[in-house]
Symmetry: C2
Amino acid sequence: MPRQGVLLVVSGPSGVGKGTVIARMLARLPDVSRSVSCTTRPPRPGEVAGRDYHFVSTDEFRRMREAGELLEWAVVHQDLLYGTPRRPVEEALATGQDIILEIDYQGARSVRQILGERAVLVFIAPPSWGALVERLQGRSTEDAEATSKRLASAIHELAHVEAFEYLIINDDLDAAVDNLQGVLLAERQRLTRLQWRPFVEDLLREAGQ
Amino acid sequence: MPRQGVLLVVSGPSGVGKGTVIARMLARLPDVSRSVSCTTRPPRPGEVAGRDYHFVSTDEFRRMREAGELLEWAVVHQDLLYGTPRRPVEEALATGQDIILEIDYQGARSVRQILGERAVLVFIAPPSWGALVERLQGRSTEDAEATSKRLASAIHELAHVEAFEYLIINDDLDAAVDNLQGVLLAERQRLTRLQWRPFVEDLLREAGQ
């Protein structure tokens, strides 16, 4: 049955493991794809334009933002801009392609405002504050300042759980992946996403009604 | 995190295989239980009162119905009454126990009216009318009249898909079980069912906010 794609928007504090949960789910469901963001930062070695990111100039980014071509955008490290182009997401959803988007709570709110019920908002939370601190401190590549910045922004994220529809506690990784996958499977079967009327009409016609 | 249980109400035409889909899902999720119906029919050999059914007199059934003690009820084979007692379901949901209920579309509508969003309505449909006819005709225990009655009632069921939130096509049994399980997993993570406020408050308190 033809259906609208699901836009799974996943947020949660840095260090909660959402990247891992998403990667595991995508490994199970290869027909779900990530949205390709646009960014003003230069490509890193090995990154492919159009696959990893759309690399654009700051002027072009601003033009897109002002023209309403972004579903959401954010400033990272003070001056780098990242955003989600709107048209490819809408086109994918219209053809039944499911898309996953890993963004912060402000981005999630923006997507919800623009796409309404087409977006499904999932928040991933740590089982405890201590678990989050431990995880962030375990990232040996970062200094104490970076960690405390992440913790400060985690508090902001957690204070906005209310805007989300689903809340998954990442206590056990496998369970968290099962639960995220469950949300996607469920949302695929939602009547509001299915073209169920012609399907049922066909069944009834076949039945001679 | 404490949460409200999910009441999964599953409907669909006779012969669509919903019993098998439910049984397979319950085998995977042993912590989900079936609601025990009350009925005016006499116990069959081997049936245990309170486990298989609550066996009640017609007078008692009518009393329960009039006192609002049933979530839904139906007449089967002209004079046998079957119904779902309300209190055990509400008590189970309040303690976070998930319950599954296999009833017709009228029952599903009644449950939704009484329990609102606490109930999740899932319709299971055949991939085609021909597939349903084939399945029903394959039930060698039934005569042609019984089959044509079931097909007539299947048409009624299908004409009421609109009242449901989820629609699962039982084309491939394993996929249908995955999808029903997905709906249950998703609904367990719904913010409206979780006591998320005290949980988040605890996290923020731990963070020193």
